[in-house]
Amino acid sequence: MHMDCLRSFKVTVSGNQNTTAPEAKFWGLAPQNYWSIETGFGTTSIFNVQGFKNIDVYKIVAVGNVNSENSTSTKVLVQDFNWFVRLGGQMNILGGNITVSPNKFNMTLDNTNPVFSLAKYYPSVEFAEPVNSVKYFEVLGLQANGIGAENLTTINLSYNVTFMIYYQFEGEELLF
């Protein structure tokens, strides 16, 4: 599928939040002060696709960053982060199967309502054959970690990330 034939829409997650235990954990000896957080999952953000047709999704790109606000006293250095997102639709399958055993790395097809991890260093996922009949896009959670926690009970993270979603309407073939 050529990108010229696709449409796109975008949704943004934007916030500045303090995170404490149990979603945030600290360890290590000063001056390192390592930390990690995992937030969301129980409460998710959902974009519902509405209108006459569902959409077929060909690509998702997460553009943005996660970092501390300079103004707080709960600053950290973010070394890595990833967003877990879900597409409510059906993924194409090839004639094939996964060897049940051994399966050391827990390979799975995840064909219905697939979950993807969009990370700091590779924030996109792309398909030549789309995820079909998508009815919703869901941001499940944020995982981040790093060093230099200024405060050992609270982490402040600020984020503004735009998810670009490239799609066609189901059953349509654009001709330009």
């Binding site: 599928m1 050529h2 235990a21 149990p22 979603e23 945030a24 954990k25 360890w27 290590g28 000896l29 390192q32 390592y34 990690s36 957080i37 995992e38 070394q79 890595d80 990833n82 877990f84 993924m91 194409n92 399958i93 090839l94 004639g95 094939g96 199967n97 996964i98 060897t99 051994p102 399966n103 050391k104 790395f105 827990n106 390979m107 799975t108 097809l109 995840d110 697939p114 979950v115 993807f116 991890s117 969009l118 990370a119 700091k120 260093y121 590779y122 996109s124 996922v125 792309e126 398909f127 030549a128 054959e129 995982q143 970690n145 790093g146 060093i147």
Partner: protein, 172 residues
């Protein structure tokens, strides 16, 4: 790339890796460092079935490997990772050969069943001439390294990594 089809599979797991699973640890001052080599010849295998084999033009990984607050007291900071996999098929026709000696870097010409390693910072590989007649994709190696392992005997990590395989059916 316009004419290609694609299919997907994922690997999703979380484990606490100790010495028996390939975890090694060392310490300099108060700094903890660690590596993990989780390899298996059989690994995890996707078997391509149906009327035709496929020619593979691109493989892209999306995802990350990290620790989590849920894994305390076995948390760690992951700095890099890579996944090694073998494609059971024929590599593109070679246009030369490797000089047998000297060969200090062990250069090889993988004419069959090429082995490829994709990593945190280089997640995709593309071929203009495809890997032909692909029948299997076998994930064999996981290498991870980092700092700040909270416990000296093991580290717990988790991952959801999606593989998108771009292909054409053989002969089409």
């Amino acid at each position: 790339m316009d004419c290609l089809s694609s299919f997907n599979f994922s690997i999703a797991n979380q484990s606490n890796y100790g010495a028996a699973q390939g975890f090694l640890y060392w310490q300099i001052g108060t700094q903890h460092f660690w590596t993990l080599d989780s390899s298996s010849a059989s690994g995890s295998k996707y078997l391509i079935q149906g009327f035709k084999n496929i020619n593979i033009f691109k493989i892209e990984l999306s995802g990350d490997i990290n620790s989590s607050p849920q894994f305390a007291p076995y948390q760690c900071i992951v700095q890099n990772w890579s996944l090694g996999f073998e494609i059971i098929g024929q590599n593109s026709t070679s246009v030369g050969n490797v000089l047998a000696s000297p060969n200090p870097f062990s250069m090889i010409d993988q004419t069959t069943n090429p082995f490829i390693r994709l990593s945190k910072f280089q997640n995709s590989v593309t071929f203009e001439t495809p890997i032909q007649s692909a029948k299997e994709i076998v994930i064999k190696n996981l290498f991870v390294d980092g700092i700040a392992n909270q416990t000296t005997t093991s580290a717990e990590i988790g991952y959801i990594i999606n593989f998108t395989v771009f292909y054409k059916y053989e002969g089409e």
